[in-house]
């Protein structure tokens, strides 16, 4: 797969998802599309952390912060949705900044464990801080973006499912583009250098820990945006173990990224869409869905470690081997 493919897949994703919104027609399909879009953003931001060869098992922890802070800002402080959305991302970024130093001194498995603990602790806090988060009952009646007048488009009611879908899509695509810019920027070059040889990178003047924190902050910002989008779509938040903010949700995200292919920018987009579609088709046997996803995850890791987006390269290699004999 050459370098152009990432751009192609982003374009294709944009086009198809816009058309899908038109075709969907009913609220149920639209809600599925909204969840897919949010998860694409979550998975893409999670992959950002992978660039520095770190694995986060706590990405939904930041989504939780984003979701609750956005919902609470709108509900308790009467801040407009349009302001609360970027603010909730910033709160996540700030949290990541504070946690960055103790967290990012650890690498590999130990960083993964810390993020895992973080997500679970955040969930428990949300569960136990009744006065703020409503505890086990969670928050209900979270207002949506409401009606707003836009130049050229007139007045739009973003509380309808279709309009909220397009709003989500716009935010998600914009965020993906920002992440894509970062991927193509010199920042990413430095990140790759730090991944290759951290002490050498420091010796030529790169502040490795600062870059690691920056990377974590950026990823967390977009996770927060994802969470906020979810909060105003769902209109209610809960933090049961099995909810969107349980450990399992983090694991699903990780599976999306790996199955799509973590080496490629487009990997998480492809992985999320493919798996969520499969999961949707398996709706009629609800209980078996985790089993299906689990099996796919195991099989892909064992037999296709580069993920779905690695297939074309694998085929090219196979062809070359066949030619050689």
């Amino acid at each position: 797969m050459n370098k152009k493919t990432n751009t192609m897949i982003i374009l294709l994703f944009t086009l198809v998802s816009f058309l899908a919104g038109r075709w969907a027609g009913n609220d149920y399909l639209l809600s599925v599309l909204i969840l897919i879009a949010i998860n694409v953003l979550m998975a893409c931001s999670l992959r950002t952390i992978f660039i520095l060869e770190q694995i986060s098992l706590g990405h939904v922890g930041f989504a939780l912060i984003g979701a609750y802070s956005s919902a609470l800002m709108v509900m308790k402080l009467n801040i407009s949705f349009w302001l609360a959305l970027p603010l909730s991302g910033s709160i996540c970024a700030l949290t990541a900044l504070l946690l960055g130093y103790p967290f990012l001194r650890l690498k590999g498995i130990y960083f993964a464990i810390l993020t895992f603990m973080l997500a679970e602790s955040l969930r428990l806090i949300a569960y136990n801080w009744r006065s703020l988060t409503g505890g086990q009952f969670g928050l209900t009646d979270i207002p949506g973006p409401g009606t707003i007048g836009l130049p050229f488009l007139g007045t739009i009611d973003f509380d309808t499912m279709e309009n909220y879908y397009y709003l989500t899509l716009m935010v998600v695509i914009l965020s993906i583009l920002v992440l894509f810019f970062i991927e193509k920027s010199h920042l990413n070059v430095k990140w790759r250098a730090i991944k290759d040889a951290e002490s050498l990178a420091q010796s030529v003047g790169m502040n490795a820990i600062l870059h690691r924190i920056m990377n974590f902050v950026i990823a967390s910002f977009f996770a927060g945006i994802g969470g906020a989008l979810f909060a105003h779509y769902q209109k209610g938040l809960s933090v049961e173990v099995t909810s969107r903010f349980g450990i399992m949700a983090s694991i699903y995200l990780l599976v999306y990224v790996v199955i799509g292919g973590k080496e490629k920018f487009s990997g998480p987009i492809v992985g999320t869409i493919v798996l969520m579609m499969i999961s949707e088709f398996a709706r009629s046997f609800e209980e078996y869905r985790p089993i299906i996803i689990g099996f796919i995850a195991i099989i892909v890791v064992l037999f296709l470690p580069e993920g779905v987006t690695g297939i074309p390269e694998r085929l090219t290699r196979l062809k070359q081997q066949l030619k050689k004999g």
Binding site: P102, I113, S121, N128, I247, I251, E287, P290, P305
Partner: protein, 288 residues
Amino acid sequence: MALPFQVWVQIIINGLSLGGLYVLIALGLTLILSIMGILQLAHGEVYMLGAYAVYYLAVKMGINVYAAILFSMFLMAGFGMLMERFLFRRCEDKVLSPIIISTGLTLILQAGAVIVFGLYERSIPRLSEGSFELMGVFVPKDRMVAMVISACMAYMLYLFLKRTKLGLGMVASAQNPQAAQLKGIDPHKMSLLAMAIGSGFAAAGGAMAGSILMLTPFMGTLPLVKGLAIIVLGGMGSLSGAVFGGILIGLIDGIVPVLFGPLTASLAPLVIVIIILLIRPQGLFGHE
């Protein structure tokens, strides 16, 4: 805090019995991590399956609880060895692939448990009935029994690793896998052994938790979270760290909610781990 003395004794004993459970989980996780270099995130599900196995053996088939626990440990040890042989051994890298595979297993086993065992809560017969008096407090006997069993198992593991050739070989394999191989130590055999012991310990933990608390298909998540906190706290792959960390986290879980309420309790382990890592990035008992 002005708590009556009896309450103190009570919460400390609660903490210690929780700690005993956590130690069993953390020892297994640490053993697997240090010898195979992988994070076994389905460890909580092994714990859950171990508990259900005891339930079926003891309640449905009427076998003695202790015999059932022993049997369940062997069963889970076998399951652990199967996981090593057919899944973890085939991973290309040591970090990401095992994480994905074990989380895949978590998904399968949890959902499978919901389908097979159902969502209603069950319980295992108590390890021991009644209670006895200690410093003016009534202590349930089953908690004491659980504590004693955990302590014995931890000590037996210590003796095995320190005194037997096979145990020494395991530790060697953890410290320098390639050199161990050149001494004639088969790394696959050591990995199988680590998974067997780790999974057996998890089963014992699950059975004891099942006799004190309730059985549910999702019961494995909490001990996994605790176990992971303990292995970071105690130090990377250190067994004494796992024991110490287990007791520490157990005590925190026993004491902090009573003293400061559940909100502080939910944050306490993370804060403690972060503070310790800021001072000693390699954990309490870890090597530099």
